[in-house]
Symmetry: C2
Subunit: 569 residues, 2 copies
């Protein structure tokens, strides 16, 4: 075997040139923790800020122990603490993967040090129920440092809900003599952390004490934010930089090939944070922001007309036959008339299911149309056949349409094409469509996400050593060194009716149309639509002059004076 | 407006942090040219190597002037030359975009220097016919240096074929007083360069002299290669690194989420170079190489069974419910029985078009099946309905099916699922599919592509100043400093029957199953299939320790001793 073949074989199992190099990157560490090599535990103390929601009274009754302990006060660092020892801490990933999860484990392991034990839970919440735990060593941590994905532990989407499941968790705590559980996840997972924190608050261990529960804020969607306290969830920067590179490449392709409009759907569930960030990065002709469309109560027809007018103006004024349209994954549910139509359809299909099922394929659309309101019937008639077929397809177990399966990007292309054929048949409209999704969840973390999650892990560890429970770790002040914070989870909870039952939820942070990032976008987008002014942010860099950026939306909303993040500076 | 908002606005029009930084990167320059700051022209002389194909005699008759001048001998550098002045050179992009095209222009501009004029042709060959030329300045070159795409000039796919088109080119040469044309394109575009070189060889300018034509080897597909002379076309490295990053991200996602088989189709037309390179970079469970499938005469059923056996073995032996399958874009045309079926279908549809058109939708498949050979009828019956519908859909103007439109990745998923349901119903098989294509053509060039194309541009310029015509520029010795070469285009030409007419073609370089890269892949793939051994190559880096890689297939096939390219070292 040649020398090169041997080298290539040694790159198997996460040993690419890149992966070996990122393991050696320096770790920017917030001043509160001292040095990266030997970060020290800190004490936490209540800051002036107390959180609450419209449902705080209900929450206080149901989370009596954790609310009594925290007073819903945000905690900040209050100086060095004496290292505690002998704690056994279990950490798990929950929900979809996001870049930086491994560094949360690395920071946590570092903070716990040799005097405490860190256990990894395999396969997410399901592994916690089944008691699938193993000890995480320093060698493991060195191996996963600065790498993407959740593949070291795996993850799943199980929600811990039933009394039996809570008992199973208690059993795992006892079997493994746990002192604390760390849940690395999104809004639902952190709600679960709040519920577990209360359930395990006392009476778990032989001495009658409880098991602490701490959350870490993860989601590429960016919809887990707390103004002034949690600037962004981890994974958002990496995912949006991946999508922005690809969208930038496509923009350069449109101006090179000179013939296509590319419609790009971007992952990110309901909120349009991902789309807004990518729009700011690449400056395409059209970017749809669901929250604004809902606020303006735009109809689907009006939206399609807006797109078509841009297509027409670029061709007539500039001779351009190309452009890019960014479409947020959750768009459909933000168009009021689509919501009305879907609700009416769900209703008809539920109440006349047998009559509908007895019909031949060809008669179904007509049968439905007769039973809709005039407005919904008109909208229904305007939709392409494959969308009609989807709207009449099987419902989920709750009788609801799976809106996320509708190929919005294709729908917009087809409706724009028909509309153009009517109002401007001379305007050429070649098209391509894309969905950027899975590619963005497990990429190698940006320096921003790597630094942010390392410090989140240190904060989680320090909170555990300080005896805290029911908090979510955060780092604020990303442009000025970074400050570890702890957000009381009960201070974020609301009560929401889901599937006929009251449930606790952390409300998703949607794009605010009055936020600085949105205002900046609104001020520039007409110029971007009029003619090509796009930029290519390129592949994210871990070394060199382009490596230290933070998300543009975060920098604008935080009123930072540059894009450079300064964690640990 | 805040300071940050001002900064962001200044990033419009290709001024992202990344784009501003790459313009400052050093330019590795082959020793033959002296320094990057002031590269000097060189003379060329015949090396020992003379090229030829089975059709060389026919070619020599039809390309009498260029063959007489070159003798089909490969040229290499033969020392410094006195700079020539007063030349007017027009350059154009042809065909799909690829990373590095801008640097070919920059190298060419640099070599021509202040004493000669470089013109850019807008919008590809069509712009040459229409005479859409403008002068490229030093400021333009500084602006596009190390950026991706062909957006500075634009491109198109027009082939210059008819006598009228050749006359139009002659007119453009006269109108713009051109001394040389540079065509930056793939196999077809370089064939066009050969034809133009012969046509313009003499009698164009008032003094009776001709216009030189030089080609540069571009294509992300990697199918333009000449063993020992042209290691790879430019753009291949960048595109495959983009696809490999995304495939690596997906692999980490499979091992994080633990539930899906992802089938990824990769752009690259007929040849499987792109798939082989990405396979070597990420080491997935299954990678299909079309050329090997054709060589082994595998049936579609046998191929599906191979995939299913890997799915079964990974689940039964390792408990894995996930994996990645790489699928080359051109796969279908390499499966002999699919070719036979498509040929029979084209035949039946051509000869019984009226009878077929008169049938109702429901009766069509049956009508066709009765007219196929037993083998083709059996294959036809095994295909899912949407593939049958495509196979019976409209033909192109030559009566052929557009094979590239068949969603191969979806077909393989559906057939694997059906096959598993029959032979191993207990084995779970969740799936997702992807097509990585446009995202890879216009990304910012890797350092490899940036260095390679800068030197290709210098070589093109030196060939023009040395009075050569009918050559394609190349750089060989990528692991040992880099040596400029000129390949006589007539030495690569074959005659091929296309649409009932003899045409000159440069034969596409397919993956050779006995090449070192393929042998290495074949030796490792069973280990990659048995359990996860993947790596994540990460985003391509322009700075730092992971920046200097060349393609793994190129390094293996060139028997290099490492992945590091050493152009200019």
């Amino acid at each position: 075997m040649s020398t090169l073949a041997t080298q290539l074989e040694q790159m198997e199992n996460h040993r690419s040139v890149f992966e070996d190099a990122v393991r050696q990157l320096p770790l920017p560490t917030c001043a509160a923790f001292g040095s990266a090599a030997a970060p020290r535990p800190i004490r936490f103390a209540a800051s002036g800020r107390v959180l609450g929601t419209r449902d705080s009274d209900t929450v206080a009754r149901h989370f009596a122990q954790t609310v009594a302990a925290s007073g819903n006060a945000v905690l900040h660092g209050a100086g060095a603490a004496t290292p505690a020892g002998g704690r056994r801490v279990a950490a798990l990933f929950s929900g979809g993967p996001a870049a930086g999860g491994h560094n949360v484990l690395c920071g946590l392991k570092k903070m716990l040090g040799a005097g405490n034990t860190l256990l990894g839970v395999q396969g997410g919440p399901k592994g916690l129920l089944a008691g699938k735990l193993f000890e995480i060593t320093d060698a493991h941590a060195a191996d996963i440092l600065n790498t993407g994905g959740f593949d070291f532990l795996g993850t799943d989407r199980t929600k811990i809900k039933t009394p039996e499941q809570f008992e199973q968790v208690r059993k795992t705590c006892i079997d493994h003599a746990l002192d604390a559980i760390v849940i690395i996840g999104g809004d639902d997972s952190n709600t679960n952390a709040a519920l577990l924190a209360e359930f395990l608050y006392a009476g778990v261990k032989p001495d009658g004490s409880g098991v602490q529960v701490i959350g870490a804020p993860k989601t590429i969607d960016g919809d887990l934010q707390v103004p002034g306290l949690l600037p962004i969830s981890f994974g958002f920067d990496t995912a949006t930089r991946i999508y922005a590179e690809l969208a930038g490449n496509i923009l350069q392709d449109t101006r090179s090939s000179l013939k296509y409009w590319h419609f790009i759907k971007l992952m990110g569930r309901s909120a349009s944070h991902v789309t807004l960030e990518v729009a700011l990065q690449v400056k395409p002709a059209v970017s749809l922001i669901s929250e604004e469309i809902a606020e303006k109560k735009l109809s689907l027809g009006a939206l399609v007309d807006q797109i078509a007018q841009t297509v027409i103006a670029r061709y007539r004024n500039e001779g351009l036959k190309h452009g890019v349209v960014l479409v947020p994954e959750g768009l459909i549910e933000f168009i009021p008339e689509m919501n009305a139509l879907i609700a009416e359809l769900n209703d008809v299909l539920a109440h006349e299911a047998d009559a509908f099922a007895a019909l031949a394929e060809a008669g179904r659309a007509e049968f439905i149309a007769q039973r809709l309101s005039a407005a919904s019937a008109a909208l229904f008639a305007s939709l392409p056949p494959y969308i009609v077929a989807m709207l009449l397809a099987e419902r989920d177990s709750h009788g609801n349409l799976q809106v996320s399966l509708i190929p919005t990007e294709q729908l917009l292309i087809d409706m724009t094409r028909s509309h153009l054929a009517r109002i401007a048949p001379d305007v050429p409209f070649g098209s391509q469509h894309h969905f950027f999704g899975y590619e963005g969840r497990c990429g190698a973390p940006t320096l921003f996400d790597a630094a942010y999650t390392w410090n989140l892990g240190l904060t989680v560890g320090a909170l555990i050593l300080d005896g805290r429970s029911g908090y979510m770790a955060s780092i604020s002040g990303l442009s000025s060194g970074g400050e570890p914070l702890a957000i009381p989870l009960t201070g974020l909870l609301n009560v929401e009716r889901r599937h006929g039952k009251d449930e606790y939820v952390i409300e998703k942070a949607l794009v605010r149309t009055d936020a600085p990032a949105m205002r900046y976008f609104a001020a520039r987008r007409e110029a971007w639509a009029a003619t090509d002014r796009f930029a290519s942010p390129g592949p994210r860099q871990l070394w060199g002059p382009a490596a230290h950026q933070m998300p543009m939306t975060v920098a604008l909303n935080d009123e930072a004076d540059s894009l450079r993040f300064r964690i640990g500076e």
